[in-house]
Amino acid sequence: MNPGCLDKAGIEDALMHLAASRDVFAPVREGGTLEFRRLPAGGLVFLGPEKTLLPLKTLYLPMTEDVFSRCMKAGETGMEIAAPMERDRVVFGALGCDIATLHLLDPVLLGEPPDEAYRERRERTAIVALACKGEGPECFCSSCDIDPACPGGSDVVLTDVGDAFLFDALTEKGSRILETLDGRLREATDDELATARSFDSTAADNIPLAKIPEDFADLWEADLWDDLASRCIGCGVCTLLCPTCYCFDVQDEQRGTESKRFKTWDSCMFSEFTRMAGGDNPRDTKRSRVRQRFLHKLQYYSSEHGKAACVGCGRCRVHCPVGIGIDEVITRLARGKVPGEVKGGGE
C-alpha cells in the first residue's frame, strides 16, 4: 500500500483539524515576510521550499522569553513564574537545514544542566518536514551532510507531488499525527510516489567544510579577518537569523509597577557582548568579534561536538547588508593554512 496523500486544497482544513488537539505552527506570509506562526494566523499558510526569515530554532529558543514577573502594586505584590507549555505542538513545513540545527543545539542546551524550557519544547513538538531540493542560490546544505529531500530528525516528511502532498511517517510521533488525520488522507498514486522518489538535492555540495584546518592557531592572524572586519558593520543580522546561534542575555526590566526577568537573544557581533562590569572588554575590536564568530561556528564548536555549527541555509549571506557569507569564509579558510594567504584575494 502506498503512503498517504493529501490534496493541497484540503491542507488548511487538515491543519485546523489538528489545531483542535495541539498547537499547530506553519510558515505564514504576512506583511511581506514568511515566519512560523501559530495557527490560526492572519496571512496565508505557505508550504514550499522557501526559508522563513527567522529559523525554526525560534520556536524552541524564542527571541524573548520571560523567566518570571513581579508585581509591586499595593495589595497585589507577588511573583509569577513563567507558565509552562500548555499543549503539545506540531510544526509543519520545516526544511532540512532548520531541522538539522536542532541536533546542533541539543548538545549545548540539553547538556548538564539542561535548559528546561528548551527540553520541554523538544520533547513535546512533532516536526512535519517539507522535502526540499535546496534550490536557492544561497543553499549549500548538501555541503553540511544534510539531505534536504529527506531531512533527518523529522517525524513526518511531506513531499510536494504536484496537486498534493505525500505524507511519510518516520517515527512513532509522526504516525500519531497521521492517525489524527485519518480519513483525510488518500492513497498516493504510483506516479505521485515516483515524483517523490525523484527528489534530489541541487544545493551546492562543494563548500569545503571538512578542509578547514583543525588547529585554529593557523588561522588566528589571517588577513581574512581584517578584510571582513573592514566591511562588516557589526549589525549582528547574521547571528540573529542563523539557525545555530544560541547566545542569549538575561535582563530585568521594570515598567510601572511590574517588572520582568527575561531571556533575550544576544549577539557576539554586538560591541557590548563581552563588556564586563567595570568597562573592560576582551573583544572590543570588530576584527576580534568577526574572527570569534567564524572560528566558533567552524572550529571551536566542531572540536567540541564533532561537527561545524553550520547547516548551509545561507541566511547570513542573503541578509548581510555588506555581502559577507559564511560559505565564502569557509572557502577562503580551507584554501590556505598560513596567515597572509588571503591577502588581496577576493573571489
Binding site: R231, G236, V237, R317, E347
Partner: protein
C-alpha cells in the same frame, strides 16, 4: 566601440584608473569603493594596492553609503580614497563638519549618479525620489558633472505616501503592525552614516535605556529615539531600509521627520548647504510656538 575601432572608456574604467593612480602614489592609503558581490549586486570593498583597482565597479546597484565607514577610521593614519554618489557626498559634508573625519585625509571621487535601481527590478529606487546633491561641494576627482539629476521630486510622492493613515488611531495601529516585524537587530543603526556615537544610547547598560524585550513598547522606544537623534541629519539614502532583514518601512518615518524640519525651520536637507547649520544644533527666536494642534502628515 567608437568609430575608430577602439573601446570607449567607461566611467567605470575611469574610476579604476583614478583609484589605481591614487593608491599607487600614496603608500599606506586605502580606497573604499564598490565591487561585484558573488551573490549578485555589489558590496563595499577596501583596496590597499593599485593592482586591485580592477575590482571596482560603478553601476545602478551601488547602494551602500560608504561614508558610514569613516567615523571609525577617524584618528587613524593614512589617506583614505572614497567613492561617493551625490547623496553620500551630503553625508560626507555632515561628517566633516561634525568632526567625524578630517577632510585633509580624504581623496573624494564623485560618482555622477542618476538614480539607482529598485532592489526588485529596473524601476527607480524609492530612495532616489527627491534626490538632492550637495551645493558647492569640493571633490578631489569626478567621473562627470556632479549635478542633481532630473528625478521625481519628493513632494510629488510624499502626498500619496501616507499608508499610515489620516487619524491618530489609524497611525497607531499601522506602526504597531509595522514594528511587530522588527527583530531589534539594530542593523538600521549600524549602517547609518549619522549613527557614529562612540557609545550609543542603545549600547549603554548603566543606565540601561533600552532592553531587547522585543515588545511594542521596546520597539517604539528604539525607533522613536533613533529617529529623533537623526532629525535634520538624515540624508535619505535609504540604507536603513535596505539593511533591515524584516522589511520595516523605516524611510516612512525618516521622510516624515525630514518634512517636519523643512516645514518648521525651512531646512532643505542635511549636507546640502554648507552655510546652514543642522536644525537641532541651532535655535531661533522666530520658531513657531509649540501647540498640540498638528497639521496632517
Amino acid at each position: 566601440m567608437s568609430e575608430h575601432g577602439m573601446p570607449e572608456t567607461t566611467m567605470e574604467d575611469n574610476l579604476r584608473t583614478t583609484a589605481a593612480e591614487f593608491l599607487g602614489r600614496t603608500p599606506g592609503a586605502c580606497f573604499i569603493g564598490y565591487e561585484a558581490a558573488p551573490q549578485g549586486g555589489t558590496r563595499p570593498v577596501f583596496l590597499r594596492s593599485a593592482g586591485d583597482a580592477g575590482r571596482l565597479v560603478w553601476n545602478r546597484w551601488c547602494y551602500a553609503n560608504l561614508t558610514a565607514y569613516l567615523p571609525e577610521m577617524n584618528g587613524g593614519e593614512g589617506l583614505i580614497g572614497i567613492a561617493v554618489k551625490g547623496c553620500d557626498a551630503r553625508a560626507l559634508r555632515e561628517l566633516v563638519r561634525a568632526g567625524q573625519i578630517e577632510r585633509a585625509r580624504l581623496f573624494v571621487v564623485g560618482l555622477p549618479c542618476t538614480g539607482l535601481s529598485a532592489l526588485d527590478g529596473d524601476t527607480l529606487a524609492g530612495r532616489c525620489h527627491g534626490c538632492m546633491y550637495p551645493e558647492d561641494f569640493v571633490y578631489d576627482a569626478t567621473l562627470g558633472p556632479m549635478e542633481t539629476p532630473d528625478l521625481p521630486h519628493r513632494a510629488d510622492v510624499a502626498v500619496e505616501e501616507n499608508p499610515a493613515g489620516k487619524t491618530v488611531e489609524e497611525r497607531r495601529r499601522f506602526w504597531e503592525a509595522e514594528l511587530d516585524r522588527c527583530i531589534r537587530c539594530e542593523a538600521c543603526r549600524k549602517i547609518c552614516y549619522a549613527c557614529y556615537c562612540p557609545e550609543c544610547i542603545f549600547e549603554k547598560t548603566d543606565p540601561r535605556w533600552s532592553s531587547r524585550r522585543r515588545d511594542h513598547a521596546d520597539k517604539f522606544f528604539f525607533h522613536a529615539v533613533r529617529a529623533m537623534h537623526l532629525a535634520g541629519r538624515c540624508i535619505g539614502c535609504g540604507e536603513c531600509e535596505r539593511a533591515c532583514p524584516a522589511g520595516v518601512r523605516l524611510m516612512l518615518l525618516n521622510r516624515s521627520l525630514q518634512r517636519d524640519v523643512e516645514v518648521l525651520f525651512g531646512y532643505r536637507g542635511a549636507g546640502v548647504d554648507e552655510n546652514v547649520a543642522p536644525p537641532l544644533t541651532t535655535v531661533s527666536r522666530d520658531d513657531p510656538e509649540f501647540t498640540v494642534e498638528r497639521t496632517s502628515p
